[in-house]
Symmetry: C2
Subunit: 356 residues, 2 copies
């Protein structure tokens, strides 16, 4: 199986954003599709529309009705959407929200059945996708409900420079202090540690944990969550054998370059992790949802309505999301084999988790 091509489901996301543009630009490169079998979940008609507006050559799609009809040598697209759907570039329409949801449902159903080995999700609009069937702030929470292993899902953003995970994700700042607890932070540290080992083949991961408050609370002068919640969680993790240090004041931690010494950083809230991540490398980020029994990655950007249909979007982040999904799949296979046969010698790994 290790050398067989895996099937990766690609959900089209919001049809009025840059989703199709980055998907098609990625798949237009023959070297990319050499390494896996792509199955887009979306609309052949909408894909054709974006292919034309983006003047994207070299993407001939095998239009199918379901995963059974897949051709392993082609770029497959499962038609999940009514052909009457209207593209309104840059607009948040109800129709587009429903189309994003329908494609996601179909893909996750096939993922659950093991018919595809991973999904890469193009960006959705978090507002128009809401319905009685989808009431989540984003993909992460939706997938957590479907594919949880009992522990919380963990959003990890990664690029060549860093991996940053967040304890709390798409929640208002006002809810962050109530949401973080010693137990939750400890769980997130454990999921992160497990993922670094299993998904990234890092034998002994080093994890940095950030404080919540400015200057990490300045010894209690500016808030006390550091001493009452974060420090005890770190101490507990260390007791469990995890190499984990902190809490660090977030601004100085990134400013000093200290973050480079760690395999991953655990931030307390969304912007605390994503601001430095995007400031350093906007275009090359991958969002990986760790802690699930399936593999899901996505580009770090959003729908980018303002440049939709203008052939201005970079597919860099999407391409890396695809490669990350493949890498994680292979790493998991390897790690699980090792776990079954503990006498096999562990390879040395570098920071990026590649075998030396």
């Amino acid at each position: 199986m290790e050398n067989e091509k895996i099937i990766i489901g690609i959900t089209h996301g919001d049809i009025n954003g840059i989703g199709y543009e980055v998907i098609l630009k990625t798949l237009a490169e023959p070297k990319v599709t050499e390494s896996f079998i792509p199955v887009i979940y979306g609309s052949a008609k909408v894909a054709a529309y974006h292919r034309k507006s983006g003047d994207i050559q070299g993407v001939n799609m095998n239009i199918i009705n379901n995963i059974d009809e897949i051709n392993p040598k082609r770029i497959n697209i499962v038609n999940c959407i009514n052909d009457e759907i209207k593209v309104e570039l840059g607009k948040a329409t109800e129709e587009a929200g429903k189309a994003a949801f329908d494609a996601l449902e179909q893909a996750t159903s096939d993922l659950k059945k093991g018919r595809i080995q991973a999904i890469v999700t193009a960006p959705i609009n978090k507002k128009n996708i809401q319905s009685d069937k989808f009431s989540f702030p984003g993909h992460t929470e939706y997938l957590e409900e479907k594919f949880s292993m009992g522990t919380p899902a963990l959003m990890i953003l990664m690029n060549d420079v860093m991996r940053v995970a967040v304890v709390t994700g798409h929640i208002p700042v006002s809810e962050v202090p109530k949401a973080i607890s010693k137990e939750l932070i400890l769980q997130k540290i454990e999921v992160l540690n497990y993922s670094l080992k299993r998904d990234f083949k890092i034998t002994r991961p080093r994890i940095a944990v950030l404080g919540l408050n400015p200057h990490a609370g300045d010894e209690g002068v500016i808030g006390n969550e550091e001493s009452t919640i974060i420090e005890p969680a770190i101490a507990e993790a260390v007791k469990k054998g995890i190499t984990c240090v902190g809490p660090y004041p977030a601004d100085g931690f990134f400013g000093s370059g200290n973050f480079k010494k760690f395999d991953a950083i655990l931030a307390m809230y969304h912007d605390q992790g994503l601001i430095p991540f995007k400031t350093i490398a906007m275009e090359s980020g991958v969002n990986y949802t760790a802690g699930l029994n399936i593999i899901r990655t996505s580009p770090a950007h959003g729908t980018a309505y303002e440049i939709a249909g203008k052939n201005m979007a970079s597919e860099e982040s999407f391409r890396q999301a695809v490669f990350a999904a493949i890498d994680i799949y292979k790493n998991r296979q390897w790690s699980d084999e090792i776990a079954m046969n503990p006498l096999k010698i562990e390879p040395k790994t570098d920071r990026a988790g590649k075998i030396e």
Copy 2:
């Protein structure tokens, strides 16, 4: 007066940190002291100790008891501290906290009397300086109480790349949502706009305002402070003739480089502004307290206990803080003259506020 040298007071901050090292390294360069008259508020004995441990040549100090004894051709040091004081490098001692406070009190007293034209403050330890006389989270709040012009003080961090100001400063994250209001944000925008014009000679400043929540609330899916508080404040500011845009999602705003189009960015809380600021340029940051009737700058770093006395500190940020204070003094003089004589033609300014 425009070509006369101004007197700048320099407070020594925490004697067990890197304060004296960066002060003395800055003043050791003859070109620096050509442009102003330095007066350190501190201890000649402690200064000598750090000069020796840092092996800093070329700083001969004129030791004086008060500002009346100043020698305009020398590096002056006002002895504010008992000579018996003990330096304990890297330690947060009560003695050092008191010494930091005493120097600050003396300097602000001379500043109030107009005996010095600006102060540059070396970093304090925000914990050991606390006493019944000083119960503030930092310099900014202490100076706001002493030198307010009726509007709130505004912390601006600046370097070659950006100026970022924060609506809330040294308060816990849990208090941020309660602390921000339409009125406060509007006041901060107005102070920022006024400062950009008067202190930085930018004729028509462009201000970007960030959202509070992840994705700036994603149209209400992740919090509503954007629509209920921040947008109304921006609208009100625009009505008053201020060029101000937002609220922007913080992560994408810095990631996309969009911030480069603005003269200043207003962040909602400390880390939202300081993380990207330090991530981009740790060593070259200046902290300026706008909105006061005096001028105060400081380096963007802290006491850095871990490298105290090791001759490892960079004086770059401190030197820039000194030059920023001089520039702001000159800009204010020019702006105030213009205001008194409105027929004088305004010079063109570039982004940094320098005359072309």
